[in-house]
Symmetry: C2
Subunit: 201 residues, 2 copies
Amino acid sequence: MAQAIAGPEIERLIQLLARLPGLGPRSARRAALHLINRREQLLSPLADAMRVAAERIVVCESCGNIDTSDPCTICRDMGRDRSILVVVEGVSDLWALERAGAVRAGYHVLGGVLSPLDGVRPEHLALDGLVARAALPETRELILALNATVDGQTTAHYVTDLVAHLPVRVTKLAHGVPVGGELDYLDEGTLTAAMRQRTAV
Amino acid sequence: MAQAIAGPEIERLIQLLARLPGLGPRSARRAALHLINRREQLLSPLADAMRVAAERIVVCESCGNIDTSDPCTICRDMGRDRSILVVVEGVSDLWALERAGAVRAGYHVLGGVLSPLDGVRPEHLALDGLVARAALPETRELILALNATVDGQTTAHYVTDLVAHLPVRVTKLAHGVPVGGELDYLDEGTLTAAMRQRTAV
């Protein structure tokens, strides 16, 4: 449609923007106009930031995090507890835990979870690296910070079996009532888990 | 937050993405990861498309449309009816009318609508150019395709007064029931307008 009225360059920009999560064809057009109307403040800086990211971002060979250095900032951080490895599905989960400041430890990004339906098998995940790191003498605990979904829990079981021969403690995140959450809106599974794992006041 | 874990380059990309309409901080992080995970297919092409857009897109001196040429593709299109000028608030409205194939005519982009509350006064809009084009001998009709809001209709009245001395017909878009729309969900103003402007079957 738009290529006939605004030239192929704008149409191409819209088509690429529409492939971002959260943007559809209509919001991609709005985003393109927004960018074009803010050329110096936004369009040029964003083009440069993307170019820099495309050229400089690498995946950390050790933990699977993304950064502009390998080993990544987290793996190079000497202030972290090296005896704990937090196992996550993806980098977004790592970011979420870091934003929360939940733990100052190392991470291991699996790059997915096992999913027979989606054809994700063990060889698609960074499991060899995880077992190797779990076998290091300094590693004492693996925290499985995986989603509380069927695939996430299947993966947790699989990882637990994989490292069962190692002298490493395996833990997982607690289930319970979200902070600020109302009981009335919670599902029965969460309420039952929260009741069973109740803590002393 | 994230700058401590993923380097300033990724944090800058997220901050710039968060300034796009429709993306907030959380979806900007998702978009950044999506881009980084698709470096060759999406991140690099999008960086290039933005660079091209930043360098080559110009505003048409005649009509205010954006394009990579001036005059723009529409102003150079000899197949359009030169006697009609469609007056729109912004380029997004021009695109919407062109997608609909509603009219094959010239356009004039005002670059906004009069809005005392937002401090938008006549000198902020492309009104001089509009009057000059309306005064051209070939121009016979101005179609005011402005939003049916208070500001849009104020602007329509203002434009009508501005060209009142010229031998040009001024029209506006019809009000009525949207195609596919249900009467039950329409406001009284639209229903009244649709009734008053009813057409013969």
